[in-house]
Symmetry: C2
Subunit: 152 residues, 2 copies
């Protein structure tokens, strides 16, 4: 079982050394030991990092990913995956609506966009918050969007 130092892990995983130290700090990974000061990693860390990369790509926060690893072996919850898939589906539909609206506006021949009914409809939808949950990755943890109450 070869031991890897942080530089090699970084090269092979595409994750910077500083990020690896950060991941360790938040409990995502752990070196198998030290040689002098230097962290030594097991090759298995690469698999774990791949899982982290996948989790991030799927929109999970590092904290959520850490919780998956929490009790020893990675415990991947199928229901959670399905839920995330559903969220992605909703996001995709919203983005598709936006894309179609943008395409129309790009093609529209109205003298000003403000006179294009489709464009105005999009504007109204945006104000109404129709696009708000876009990329509602639990990660973004919306900074207390108090969303000024409509009519007190």
């Amino acid at each position: 079982m070869r031991e890897l130092d942080i530089g090699e892990v970084s090269r092979r995983s595409g994750v910077s050394a500083s990020a690896l130290r950060y991941y360790e700090e938040i409990g995502l990974i752990r070196p198998i030991g030290r040689r002098g000061l230097r962290r030594q990693y097991d090759e298995a860390v690469l698999e774990r990092l791949a899982l982290v990369a996948l989790g991030r790509a799927a929109g999970f926060s590092l904290e959520e990913i850490a919780s998956i690893f929490a009790q020893g072996r990675p415990r991947i919850d199928r229901a959670r995956l399905a839920a995330r898939a559903d969220e992605l589906d909703a996001t995709i539909r919203t983005l598709a609506a936006m894309r179609d609206g943008l395409r129309h506006a790009a093609a529209c021949r109205a003298p000003s966009h403000l006179e294009c009914p489709t464009f105005r409809r999009l504007m109204r939808a945006a104000v109404a918050g129709a696009f708000e949950p876009v990329m509602a990755a639990p990660s973004r943890a919306a900074p207390k969007r108090s969303r000024a109450r409509k009519r007190a």
Copy 2:
């Protein structure tokens, strides 16, 4: 032409008063005057805020939106809209791939996800960065992703 104070603009636009002040600071909106200390707005600000909301929803940063308003009348560039639509399309395809992968993984009967070929393929794709440009809204302005160089 009725004058609105910041509270009413907030109520009618769904944008908090502090956010309105912030928007003013970065040059996105401007009151038509003051009454005492209080900002007074023209109703036209509501339209502008709707445009801001739409721009945000489409993934533009406030800075980019401000540049649209820069020279007097909003100058919406059709090519820009089309480009953003194309980006959204790419994002949608990526998200769809992720969604399908997650759904498969959720349904997969392999004893461990690590033994599921589909799941492993997803992991490899994530490491390779296949999902990185997801939601590549120019807004996110990737904080110098130096992306640890593969093999120096």
